[in-house]
């Protein structure tokens, strides 16, 4: 029996999520995304990388994008192909300056409670980009590099 090799397009899978924008929903939102991602992790290190990254990304969307308001919605999308995992997280907030938000941490002068989340995400992911004035976050992690 001849088996046709699957194209990269056929190997690409994706899923969309919509979560309430409040802190009470944060853990279950993160877990829903982790449940989808977990079968594609090749080791526990990847799992923890994504756990922490989703924790920071969703916390920012909840507290800064939605002002902890459950009537607001956080839109997420996960795309997985053989080369990378791409996660998009969109919130309805006014946006912010992602570069100014991490300046104190990068300079080693941050003694406040906040301002370390984006810095951590940049350490854990291969690409972290904010679009649309900071309301849309794109995360990319190469699968081969992290296997």
């Amino acid at each position: 029996m001849h088996v046709t090799p699957r194209t990269e397009e056929q190997q690409r899978i994706s899923k969309e999520f919509a979560f309430p924008g409040d802190a009470e929903s944060l853990a279950s939102s993160r877990q829903a995304m982790m449940d989808f991602l977990t079968p594609y992790f090749s080791n526990e290190a990847q799992e923890i990388d994504f756990f922490l990254t989703l924790q920071e990304a969703l916390a920012n969307a909840v507290f800064h994008g939605c002002q902890n308001d459950p009537s607001k919605t956080i839109q997420c999308r996960i795309e997985i192909d053989p080369s990378a995992v791409v996660i998009t997280i969109r919130d309805p907030g006014p946006g912010f300056d992602p570069y100014g938000a991490t300046q104190a941490t990068e300079e080693g002068t941050n003694l406040t409670t906040y301002g370390r989340g984006i810095f951590l995400m940049r350490s854990l992911m291969d690409e972290v980009n904010y679009l649309h004035r900071g309301t849309e976050l794109h995360l990319r992690k190469l699968r081969a590099a992290s296997a």
Binding site: L26, L120, D126, S146
Partner: protein
Amino acid sequence: MGLAGVNLCGLTNGNGIQLRKKRMLRVDIHALPQAATLRCTGRIVLGMESETLRCMAESRSEASLILDLSEVHTMDAAGLGLLAELHCMALRRNQALRIVRASRPVCELMALTSLHAVLDVSDCEEAELDGDRKGSCFAGRYMTA
């Protein structure tokens, strides 16, 4: 000689079946007249875990407050922020706050965010910090439980 403990693990359903095996946070307090040691086990992340540790630390009036983080396997930005907050609180209250025996992942995170230069940290597991962490999966060393 733990005098008090808060355990946030072991959520169960109606039939008593454990739903979540990984420990969230346990804090054991060892209190002496001049010093209190808060021994943390589990993870210090945004939410109930951070709030619990904050409340327990704020409630201590001893001259010296010691955070033993040897059994903390995961910490997020909120957990790091809490360490900074407790450091500032201790300065205001003329307390000495010391972080002891921090696990490797906690040491790495404190070094990464330069908190180790500000906090009083001792007996830290040696962190293997290199210049380029990207894609290195350094968080893979987080999980011990």
